[in-house]
């Protein structure tokens, strides 16, 4: 697959929670593939996909690891779908300090789904490969490449601009000069 200029391939795992049986074969295969040597050890706690499940509430939601965040959240939002309630965490892909999901149990480092990146590339990620019910489906699509975003302004720049907005540019410069002399 060779995207044209200005195009890129987006890899996605589409999740159908209605089809999930909760078997967690996806977790098994993910942890096996990412072990070293490959397939040598199985540990679902190291998987980059987790099935959030609760047999009492009929909740079966596979989530695969997204970005790491250093701050947790209260996770208090409750979603009601088809009469069944789900917590905010059920759908959240972040590895965060609030919960154990997607934190490597030995090192404490964050885990992130890499779509089973491999050379040569796999046909599809292992979690999708072992999902007998096709609750997980792999998809690739071409999208236009976005313009690279301008570098975000640094903290100092943000602070100075706020001061200038409040006090005027000249007052800020004058005060900075004074401070320089005092030092």
């Amino acid at each position: 697959m060779n995207p044209g200029i200005g195009m890129k391939t987006v890899q996605e795992i589409l999740v159908n929670v209605d089809k999930c049986t909760g078997c967690r074969a996806c977790e098994m295969a993910c942890s096996a593939f990412h072990s070293n040597p490959q397939f040598s050890s199985i540990n679902p706690a190291k998987a980059r996909i987790h099935v959030v499940s609760n047999e009492l509430t009929d909740e079966y939601v596979p989530i695969f690891a997204g970005n790491h965040t250093r701050s947790g959240c209260d996770g208090r939002h409750v979603y009601t779908i088809d009469g069944k309630t789900y917590s905010e965490c059920s759908f959240c892909r972040a590895s965060c300090p609030t919960r154990e999901n997607f934190i490597e149990p030995d090192s404490g480092l964050a885990l992130k789904c890499d779509m089973c990146e491999s050379t040569p590339p796999l046909k599809q990620p292992w979690c999708v490969e072992v999902c007998g019910e096709h609750a997980l489906v792999y998809s690739e699509r071409e999208v236009e490449r976005e313009e690279p975003a301008r570098a975000a302004p640094g903290q100092l720049e943000v602070g100075l601009q706020a001061l200038m907005k409040q006090h005027g540019m000249e007052a800020v410069i004058a005060r900075l000069k004074d401070i320089g002399k005092e030092k």
Binding site: S35, P37, Q38, D58, E133
Partner: protein, 642 residues
């Protein structure tokens, strides 16, 4: 490094409140495998035969299978063993789900529990942290409710919990241990309750290592794919809405009344609608592509899951319809009672009332309608209130406590255990041997590899054997090709068939495989993903221990013979090995006893069903022979050379 197994057991003493992590001997992997095999060894070594099941010295053992936690699919059934107060023999039970693999990921092959706590406790296992915690706040809570409460209390949704309900707390003999809509029955819940252990909560984040990773993963994926697309494994009853087989052929009530022609299209349509109108989904166990469990949510009631014949037992015992089973199952499962034996106990009680052996005064304030009566009896049994205290001891023991002719109504037990309610015409030799000599107590845990019935034409039989990969020996193909009438088969073939059927269960229950992909399922179509011709390779790749078919077969024989010895030492003898007298209408006592003698000889057991010294020594069980001789159970003169 140990492969496939962790090499450690947890030893819990509930009397002393101690927890030990004990390294196990490496050669266990080769000799007794894991699961039930190595558990039987512990029971032999550590529970003297005179130990009362209610003694603190009785052990309750939760075992992972040797191959739990490896990539091999459908390897997840946790084995529970102890001694049962119902039979006074070794209890063998299993439950599916996620518990066993999680225990391995926590770093343990087994939990061995001895002693008794003074009040309800639960065991919390989080990798190396193992605590015995107060569980008095969980008293009276349902099985899945307990799991839910513990997940909240421990703030971890990924914990796996096995718990007893009110029935186990009250030492009901039919009590089960439940986990994730799966349950272990046949005498284990009562001992968990007696030890005052309400639940075990496990969380594991360690790795299970395998010896030959790439090859094992490739094999696992090949089997996974075969399973996913195959109708030759899994529980077809989860989706086949034609359940005429059970309803037309099994006996209703107290295993009493057959209703041929009961099933009809109108009924099937109505029941199918009831199911799909109230079914959330079908779920599977750990790392298995099948989805054998139907999860039902009736309006205003708690969710429950069932598989197989479990959906029929209550309404067939009560002469009602599926809606009644749906109504009572959710409640009964939360109380934690076995759905196979409990309905028979209730139907037995109502028969005694009809017969005048029990009186109205024994059932104060019992409703008139049968639906209300079953709910009434369930409440009495799980609380051991009034007549429920007697019924909670199971049919056979309750009959003896009630007396006054009640014993005659105990007509469907073997070794004091409730059998499936099957009443047939002419004796089936293989089934006679399986029910008589089986020590897993239920025929579903004994039958399963060789088809139940012959195929009508030679072409069909030829076609069947042509693709029959599972046979451990070509002779089974000959047996099947030449088999035309169910009862018309040689005694030699019968012994071989029973032995093979048994073998696969003993192997599955030591490795952790589910019977629906192996031991139970081959009889229906022959196309099971796990069998004697590929399991040795799976063991070798996972454990690194050399394994081949003869060695695995010998492992089966060793484990099976050891379990026989465990039970013989507790008193099991030939006289106990009788299927229910009315299991078949036409019986031939002389032939049955001849067949039993031939089977004992085939197994290397003496005329009382006791393994001979020669047999024991050939299976590296000389220490068992020594013990049986010292106890005067084996006669040195009879058991071959010392």
């Amino acid at each position: 490094m140990r492969y496939a197994e962790t090499g450690f057991n947890l030893e819990i003493d509930l009397t002393l409140g101690t927890v030990e992590r004990v390294e196990t001997e490496l050669d266990l992997a080769g000799s007794y495998l894991g699961g039930q095999g190595s558990a039987a060894k512990l029971l032999w070594e550590r529970v003297p035969p005179e130990t009362d099941p209610f003694s603190p010295d009785n052990l309750l053992i939760f075992s992972t299978g040797l191959l739990h936690g490896t990539p091999l699919p459908a390897c997840n059934r946790t084995v529970v063993n102890t001694f049962s107060p119902q039979t006074n023999l070794m209890s063998h039970s299993l439950f599916g789900g996620f518990f066993g693999p999680e225990l391995k990921y926590a770093g343990y092959d087994k939990i061995v529990i001895r002693g008794k706590a003074t009040d309800l406790v639960y065991l919390y296992i989080n990798n190396d942290k193992v605590e015995i915690r107060d569980a008095t706040h969980l008293r009276g809570k349902g099985c899945t409710e307990t799991g839910d409460l513990l997940k909240k209390e421990l703030k971890d949704q990924r914990i796996q919990v096995a718990a007893i309900g009110l029935a186990g707390e009250n030492r009901v003999y039919m009590a089960s241990i439940d986990h994730n809509h799966a349950s272990a029955a046949r005498g284990v819940g009562v001992i968990m309750g007696d030890k005052r252990l309400k639940a075990i909560a496990v969380r594991g984040t360690k790795a299970v290592n395998v010896a030959r990773p790439a090859e094992l993963f490739e094999m696992s994926q090949r089997i996974h794919q075969k399973m996913a697309g195959s109708s030759g494994c899994g529980d077809w009853m989860a989706v086949d809405e034609d359940d005429s087989f059970h309803h037309n052929h099994f006996a209703w009530g107290n295993a009493r009344t057959r209703r041929p022609g009961y099933w009809n299209k109108e009924l099937q349509d109505r029941w199918t609608n009831l199911k799909y109108d109230n079914m959330d989904r079908q779920t599977g166990c750990y790392n298995c592509p099948k989805k054998c469990r139907n999860v039902i949510k009736m309006p205003g009631q708690q969710r429950f899951g069932y598989k197989c014949f479990g959906k029929d037992t209550y309404h067939m015992a009560a002469f009602l319809e599926l809606d009644f089973s749906y109504e009572i199952l959710g409640i009964a499962q939360e109380y934690g009672v076995d759905s196979y034996s409990t309905p028979q106990v209730m139907a037995f009680a109502l028969e005694l009332l009809d017969a005048g052996i029990l009186q109205d005064k024994d059932f104060p304030e019992m409703p008139e309608d049968v639906r209300g009566r079953f709910f009434y009896l369930l409440e009495k049994i799980v609380r051991r209130e009034g007549i429920g205290d007697i019924l909670a001891d199971s049919v056979s023991q309750a009959a003896r406590r009630i007396g006054n002719g009640a014993e005659a109504y105990d007509h469907n037990t073997t070794k004091k255990f409730e059998q499936l309610p099957i009443k047939l015409g002419k004796l089936n030799p293989a089934y006679f041997l399986m029910i008589a000599t089986g020590e897993k107590m239920s025929i579903t845990q004994i039958e399963g590899s060789f088809p139940q019935d012959p195929l009508p034409t030679e072409e069909q039989r030829q076609e069947f054997v042509n693709k029959w990969e599972a046979v451990p020996d070509e002779k089974f193909k000959d047996y099947f090709l030449n088999w035309k009438k169910r009862s018309d088969i040689s005694d030699e073939a019968t012994c071989d068939i029973v032995d093979w059927n048994e073998a696969m269960h003993y192997i599955d229950d030591s490795l952790g495989f589910c019977g629906f992909v192996s031991s139970f399922r081959g009889q229906f179509g022959g196309d099971v993903p796990y069998h004697m011709n590929n399991i040795p390779e799976a063991i070798a790749l996972a454990t690194g221990v050399a394994m081949d078919k003869p060695k695995l077969w010998k492992n089966f024989q060793r484990i099976r013979t050891l379990i026989r010895a465990v039970n013989v030492r507790r008193g099991l003898r030939r006289k106990d090995e009788r299927p229910p007298e009315d299991h078949w209408a036409v019986r031939d006592e002389q032939y049955e006893q001849e067949l039993l003698s031939k089977y004992y000889a085939f197994k290397g057991w003496n005329s009382e069903g006791i393994p001979t010294r020669q047999t024991l020594e050939s299976l590296d069980l000389a220490y068992v022979a020594d013990d049986l001789e010292q106890r005067g159970i084996l006669d040195p003169a009879d058991g071959g050379p010392r």
